[in-house]
Symmetry: C2
Amino acid sequence: MKQLLIAAHGSRRESSNDEVRALVAQVADNLGVAFDGVEVAFLELATPSVESVLSELFKGQTKEVVLLPYFLSAGIHVVKDIPEEIDKALSLWPDKKITVLPHIGAFDVMASVIAKACQH
Amino acid sequence: MKQLLIAAHGSRRESSNDEVRALVAQVADNLGVAFDGVEVAFLELATPSVESVLSELFKGQTKEVVLLPYFLSAGIHVVKDIPEEIDKALSLWPDKKITVLPHIGAFDVMASVIAKACQH
């Protein structure tokens, strides 16, 4: 089984975390058969943590996780914290696979999405 | 004249700020005639500041600024810091106009953009 994991920063404002959770639910509705499910995790200030979600998934039927860093630029969380979480999980579950996507600010479509939205 | 201002968080990693600047340049390439130009500003840790960009624009020919909060969720920067910057600018330039767009995490297209990108 293959899961998508959207890893966000997390906020002290619970409404901000709920906004991310709601977006992840929408992504789930838009996702085709490539994934068996979508989970959300937070790097700090909110739960569940990346570590706990990876642990739950790998204790179950999940063989592969595709991790999307829900970040706009490659700051310290993207270049250091997420790779560290992945290394930690793979040391515990060496027979599992984690693939990391570009952070969403690096998506090719972002500039045209922004330009289009600003003109409405 | 009407300008788009993309307001980002700012990072200690200058490469991360450059990434935002590069995206803004791409947005400029994609933007139609609705705007006379696009600027970038940072809330903290990087320059130029929102205050200095608004000041430069309003000292010139700009009558209206459309501000896009380049944030994924409505945290404290979106709900408090950006409105405060706007109030400050409008108290100095009462004959100018600033319109705020939703932060990009609230764009309707975001869920489908993510779902599509994750399946590639």
